[in-house]
Amino acid sequence: MKRYLKLAAYAALLLLLPFATGLALGKTWVRILDFALLYVMLALGLNIVVGFAGLLDLGYVAFFAVGAYCYALLASPHFGLHLPFWMILPIGAFSAGIFGMLLGAPTLRLRGDYLAIVTLGFGEIIRIFLNNLDTPYNITGGPQGIDLIDPVRLGPVSLNQPPGHAVYSYYFLFLLFALATAFVSTRLQHSRIGRAWAAIREDEIAAEAMGIDTRNLKLLAFAMGASFGGLSGGLFAGFEGFVSPESFTLTESIMILSMVVLGGMGHIRGVVFGALLLSILPEALRYVGPLEQSLFGKIVIDPSGLRMLLFGLSLILVMLLRPAGLWPSPARKRELLAHGETAKHENTNIYDAGR
């Protein structure tokens, strides 16, 4: 009975949250929450690749881009196609999954940082193609991006009507998808596939010897992670109404990786917390200017610089205080507290840089 009470309390909180923030802090913060939920999906997707299977991916934003462009191309005047969103999202997720496999295939024998640079290269390659496929035929709109993307439409109702309240309706849509992603991730983690991924992360050679086809399972990890990214990309395109290559840079991939590691790699709740924190913190730091104003009466340090400086500082401080992440998985925390040495063993396995 106690469990249901707790669950009901969580549900109530999540349902009231947007309206409470909207009233107290303004619609900006609801929009920030919406983006935070998209980042939760991205972080959970990357967590499958980095957290479960232990494959360092520095080009994850490419799948976010594939999903976003799938949605943009299939629901905008660009090609004149206006498919319904429930049809495009699976296409976006599926094609992102294919790209995930495309990335996975050539990199299977690579370990650690060699894999990292290839995934980084892959992310850049996708962004550059998106930025340049406006000639000879205008497929992606090039640097101009794609504009006037149809909003998400549930049957007759478009989430953009009434205009002012789009952020609320998108909040619930994204909440639904984020919860589904978390549910699927949890189910995957405690399953036969999840254990196989963990085995690959711990010791790939032993996993292969125990009958795990590491090649297929690594591809599966890339594909699953990528499909979450594609899903989130589609929702982003519908919400933002405009996509351009500038949104899918290497810095985004690094930020998503930071969310996973800082939150608690391999631990669903930790990754969700990391995603929420690192997407809300930079926006909260926008108030540094007014804070200086009210404290010292005038702007002492240039707020925009100070804002990013504090963000960088917070990354450092959190990792120094919580090396295993803010909310690591209980097993990981137990063994880390045992003594530093054991972590040494673990970090030669997570991905050894073949030094």
């Binding site: 303004g26 405009f242 913190l281 804070l291 990013m308």
Partner: protein
């Protein structure tokens, strides 16, 4: 999760400070949002825009403008959109929530377009001082304006200048694959080809590159009469220097993004003789132009690029409010759409879509170390 409590407390404190500024009474507070990238590769141009808005606000506050019997005080809310489309929408929503009466921004086309939807939904007029992509005003929003000529207008002028004045027959084009650079380069290419010039090379770089020797060398092989660059000063300057170092003597023509003191500083002695265009009329020819240059340089140092346009955009907003006798966006928006005024960059009036009407384009050349307007 002990981390959460301090974080929430900090946010609450910050929030209280930001809305403590409502002071009722005799003054009519007008809030103008000024949005540009204040961090990252274009931060020097973003800050320049912001300074243009601030100078206009100071001037209006000094002049003691009165609307509806109350003395107007303009307050500038600056935001950093980091030239990122997602951040642009968050910042736009933040300004709408804070009840801005008008927006001067954003800087890039890639951020102005997504943000324009949010301002349009909230019915708040937005004037971009620097976004030149045609799609920005092509979205059919009534609240979207710009005081800088769009790519098409500037492309025509540049092509006419290259072909008729510089008599270039063969042309090489470089663009930095940004919404701005590619937009202006494609327009120039279209008009140059229409004018009978042959395009011998179309090379590409990026908005954070510093080495252009490879693309310049392949252009050198084709020996065009003129090299056109669509992109910003941070690349145009070093590119010009490397062009001369490679012994390439042909003319260099940049667009408004290259016409800044930064270009001359970065290109060094190689800058001599470079051409570039800029929308509007030369500052010193315009009424108030000289005064603007003096006041701006006294307060903020050298004018970078678009601060005169952000100054004009702020003035346009405030004049529209004055003529409409109200600072309520719904009331002064129609007036703004039909406004006719003289800005420091030239006559300001908008066409149906929000582009500046018959926007003049002036060509400049670097002569003994500074941009001089060509007749």
């Amino acid at each position: 999760m002990t981390m959460l409590r301090p974080l929430l407390a900090a946010m609450a404190a910050m929030l209280l400070s930001s809305c403590a500024k409502q002071n009722p009474g005799s003054e009519l507070v007008v809030r103008i949002g000024s949005v540009a990238p204040l961090t990252g590769p274009q931060s020097h141009l973003g800050k320049d825009n912001d300074n243009g808005v601030r100078l206009a606000a100071d001037e209006i506050n000094a002049s003691g403008l009165v609307i509806g019997g109350k003395k107007m005080r303009v307050e500038v809310l600056s935001e950093d959109d980091q030239a990122d489309p997602r951040t642009a929408t968050i910042v736009a929503q933040k300004l709408v929530d804070e009840g801005v009466n008008g927006i001067v921004g954003h800087f890039n086309s890639g951020t102005s377009i997504p943000a324009s939807r949010i301002y349009s939904d909230a019915g708040i007029p937005q004037i971009s001082p620097s976004a030149t992509a045609t799609t920005y005003t092509g979205q059919g929003f009534e609240t979207t304006f710009r005081v800088v000529t769009n790519d098409r207008q500037q492309g025509e002028a540049l092509a006419k200048f290259a072909l008729d004045t510089l008599h270039a027959r063969t042309v090489a084009i470089i663009d930095d694959r940004t919404a701005y650079g590619q937009g202006i380069a494609d327009e120039f290419e279209k008009d140059a080809k229409a004018g009978g010039a042959a395009l011998v090379a179309h090379e590409f770089t990026s908005d954070h590159a510093t080495d252009f020797t490879a693309i310049l060398t392949s252009i050198k092989g084709k020996n065009p009469d003129l090299v056109f660059y669509g992109g910003m000063d941070a690349q145009a300057g070093p590119m010009m220097k490397q062009m001369r170092n490679l012994g390439m003597k042909m003319a260099f023509l940049g667009a408004d993004g290259s016409k800044s003191p930064e270009f001359i500083k970065l290109a060094g002695t190689a800058a001599e003789g470079a051409y570039a265009s800029a929308p509007g009329l030369p500052l010193d020819k315009m009424p108030g132009g000289k005064a603007f240059v003096q006041k701006f340089t006294a307060k903020y140092g050298k004018i970078q690029l678009y601060s005169p346009y952000s100054f004009d955009a702020t003035m346009a907003l405030v004049n529209a409010m004055k003529q409409a006798g109200s600072i309520d966006p719904a009331r002064y928006l129609p007036v703004l759409a039909r406004i006719k005024m003289d800005g420091v960059t030239g006559p300001i009036s908008f066409d149906r879509k929000g582009d500046i009407l018959h926007g003049a384009v002036t060509l400049y050349q670097v002569r003994n170390g500074s941009w001089t307007a060509l007749p």
